[in-house]
C-alpha cells in the first residue's frame, strides 16, 4: 500500500467532517473518491496531504507513519497536490511555475531543472505559452499548468482535488487522456464530480457519504451498488 489511513477523523467544533475513515490505496492504482457535496472528500485529502490537521487517526505513506508530518514534508516524501480552486503563481511565467516545482527536489542542478521543465511543458503541449504569465492563461490552461507542476515533481502519489471542475467538454477529454498517460508512472488519487471522468479513468472507486466510507469497488460494482445509487447517483448526477 502506498497510502493507508486508519480511523481518520476530523471534527469542526463538534461537527464531524470525516469519521473513522479507513482507506487503502495500492501502489500504481488510479483511485477516485466520489460522494455528494459535503461528504468530506476535500477534508479527507486535506488530512492526507497535511493541509488540514486530523482530529485523530493515522496516515501511513509508503510504510511510514506521516500523521505528525507538516504538509511540505509530506510533499517532499513524494506527494503532489493540486488545489480544488486553481492555484498557480499568477505573476510568474508558465516556465517558472513548472521550474519551481522541479527545482524543489532537483535543487541547484540547473540542467536537470531545465530538462524536467521542458519535458513537462512538451508533454502538456504548452511550450508555446512558456513565456506568458500564468495569470494570463485561460482557466483551462491554468488547470493544466497546475497538473504540470505536479508532474514536474515526479510524485509517487498524485492527489487531484476536482481537477475537471469548470473545464469545457473538449478539455475534459484531454484531461482524461493525460490521467491515463500518467497511470503507469504514479499512483493517482482523484476527487471528482464528473461521473464520465470517473468511469473513464478510475480503476477503483471509494464513495464517501456524510464523512464515512459508504462503499469501495470497481466502477462496475459502484454503478450497481444500491446504497450508492440512493446516496449519490440517484440524486440526478448520473
Amino acid at each position: 500500500m502506498i497510502l493507508s489511513t486508519r480511523g481518520l477523523t476530523k471534527t469542526y467544533a463538534g461537527v464531524a467532517a470525516n469519521t473513522d475513515v479507513d482507506f487503502d490505496l495500492p501502489q500504481g492504482q488510479t483511485r477516485a473518491i466520489i460522494g455528494p457535496n459535503g461528504a468530506g472528500k476535500s477534508t479527507f485529502v486535506g488530512m492526507v496531504c497535511g493541509r488540514i490537521p486530523a482530529t485523530r487517526g493515522t496516515v501511513t505513506f509508503d510504510g511510514a507513519d506521516i500523521t505528525t508530518m507538516a504538509a511540505h514534508e509530506r510533499i517532499r516524501a513524494g506527494m503532489a497536490y493540486t488545489f480544488q480552486i486553481t492555484s498557480v503563481f499568477p505573476g510568474l511565467p508558465v516556465r517558472e511555475n513548472v521550474a519551481l516545482a522541479a527545482r524543489r527536489w532537483l535543487g541547484s542542478n540547473k540542467r536537470a531543472v531545465t530538462s524536467k521543465t521542458d519535458e513537462v511543458l512538451t508533454r502538456l503541449a504548452i511550450t508555446d505559452r512558456a513565456d506568458q504569465l500564468a495569470g494570463d492563461l485561460s482557466y483551462g490552461h491554468q488547470r493544466i499548468l497546475e497538473i504540470g507542476m505536479g508532474l514536474a515533481q515526479d510524485p509517487r502519489l498524485f492527489i487531484l482535488d476536482e481537477p475537471t471542475q469548470g473545464l469545457a467538454e473538449a478539455e475534459v477529454e484531454d484531461f482524461n487522456q493525460l490521467i491515463k498517460s500518467m497511470d503507469a508512472e504514479t499512483t493517482i488519487l482523484l476527487i471528482e464530480h464528473n461521473m464520465n471522468v470517473v468511469m473513464a479513468v478510475a480503476e477503483y472507486i471509494t464513495v464517501l457519504d456524510q464523512g464515512m466510507v459508504l462503499a469501495n469497488g470497481t466502477p462496475a460494482e459502484i454503478r450497481s451498488n444500491a446504497a450508492v445509487q440512493e446516496a449519490y447517483l440517484g440524486t440526478g448526477h448520473a
Binding site: R51, E73, I75, S87, F89, L100, R104, W105, M149
Partner: protein, 314 residues
C-alpha cells in the same frame, strides 16, 4: 542580449555612472549622493522582505539601529577600529533579526505589521533606557580620529563617497545575485502564492525566516555604514519614522526591483530638498507628490517601467 546580460549592463552602468559622478557633480550633490547610496542599502534590505518575499514590516528601524549601535557602541565605548566594529554590527543585526524573525513569523498580514512595529518601539525604548551608554535621543558623535580605515580618513569627502559606493555596489550585486538564485526564486514564489509554494514542498516558514535575517543584516549594514561615514548614532534612527521611510522609498522606486531602492531614495531626497527650498510647508508638497506617484505609478518608478516598457528589468 539575454535578460541576464541586460540586467548586468544596468547594474554596472549605474555603478559606473556613480563612480564618475563624484568628479562631475558639485560638492553639495556628491555629498548628498553618498548619503543616498547608504540609505539605498537600507531600502534594498527592506526590499528583500517587502518587495521580493511580500512581507510588509513596520519595524525595520530596529535592524537599522542594531547595525548603527553595533558599530557605534563598539567604537565609541569599546574603542574598536572600524573593520571589527562593522563586523560586530553585522552580527548584532543578524542576532536581532533571527530572534525577531522567529517571533514575528508566527503572525501574518496586519498582525505581522503591528508586531514588527511593536518590537521596533521596544527597541527604541531600550536605547533610551540605556541612555547612560547610548546617550538616548541626543546620541553621540564618533570622533574623526577613530574613523580611519587602512590609513584612509573616512571623513574625507572623496573617501567617504567611494566607501559608500563600494558598500552600495556590494549590496546591489548581492541582491541581483540572490534574486536570480534558486533561493531568490523561492522568495518570489512565496510572495506570489504562499500556499502553492508550501504545497510544492517548500518549507515556507524557514525560508521566510532566512529572508528576515538577510533583510535585517543588509539593513544593519546600512545603519553601521551611516554611523561610520557620517559620524553619528542617535535614537532618532530607531523611531517609527525610520521604519516608514524604507517602505516609502521602495514603494516610490518600485517594490521587487533591484534598482528601485536607489531610485526611491534619490527621488525622495531631492523632492524634499527641492520642496523645502521653496516653502516651509514642504511636507504638503511631498505628500501631494507621493499621492500622485502612488495614483499614477502604483508599481513605483522602476516597477512601472518594467510593466510598460522593459519586462527584463530585474
Amino acid at each position: 542580449m539575454t535578460d541576464t546580460a541586460k540586467s548586468n549592463a544596468l547594474h554596472f552602468g549605474l555603478l559606473a555612472a556613480l563612480a564618475i559622478g563624484f568628479f562631475i557633480l558639485p560638492t553639495y550633490h556628491s555629498g548628498n549622493l553618498a548619503r543616498i547610496m547608504i540609505l539605498a542599502i537600507y531600502a534594498m534590505g527592506y526590499n528583500v522582505l517587502f518587495g521580493y518575499t511580500g512581507l510588509l514590516s513596520l519595524g525595520h528601524a530596529l535592524f537599522f539601529s542594531a547595525g548603527m549601535y553595533g558599530l557605534g557602541l563598539t567604537m565609541h565605548l569599546g574603542g574598536w577600529s572600524p573593520a571589527p566594529a562593522f563586523l560586530a554590527a553585522l552580527l548584532a543585526s543578524a542576532i536581532v533579526a533571527t530572534v525577531i524573525g522567529f517571533l514575528v513569523l508566527r503572525t501574518t498580514g496586519v498582525a505581522f505589521m503591528i508586531v514588527t512595529l511593536m518590537f521596533a518601539q521596544a527597541g527604541y525604548l531600550t536605547i533610551l533606557y540605556f541612555g547612560t551608554y547610548t546617550r538616548g535621543d541626543e546620541g553621540f558623535a564618533l570622533k574623526q580620529a577613530t574613523r580611519q580605515l587602512i590609513g584612509l580618513d573616512l571623513t574625507d569627502p572623496i573617501v567617504r563617497y567611494y566607501t559608500a559606493l563600494i558598500l552600495f555596489a556590494t549590496a546591489l550585486l548581492l541582491l541581483a545575485y540572490i534574486i536570480r538564485s534558486p533561493f531568490g526564486r523561492t522568495l518570489i514564489a512565496i510572495r506570489e502564492n504562499e500556499e502553492r509554494a508550501r504545497m510544492l514542498g517548500y518549507n515556507v516558514t524557514a525560508i521566510k525566516l532566512k529572508a528576515v535575517i538577510l533583510s535585517g543584516i543588509i539593513s544593519g549594514a546600512s545603519g553601521a555604514a551611516y554611523a561610520l561615514l557620517f559620524g553619528y548614532a542617535g535614537a532618532t534612527f530607531a523611531t517609527v519614522q525610520y521604519s516608514i521611510l524604507p517602505l516609502l522609498w521602495v514603494l516610490v522606486g518600485g517594490a521587487g526591483t533591484t534598482t528601485g531602492a536607489f531610485i526611491g531614495v534619490l527621488f525622495m531626497t531631492y523632492l524634499i530638498d527641492y520642496a523645502s527650498g521653496q516653502t516651509n510647508a514642504y511636507l504638503i508638497v511631498v505628500g501631494v507628490v507621493l499621492v500622485a506617484v502612488t495614483l499614477f505609478l502604483p508599481h513605483g518608478i522602476m516597477g512601472t517601467l518594467r510593466n510598460k516598457y522593459a519586462g527584463w528589468l530585474p
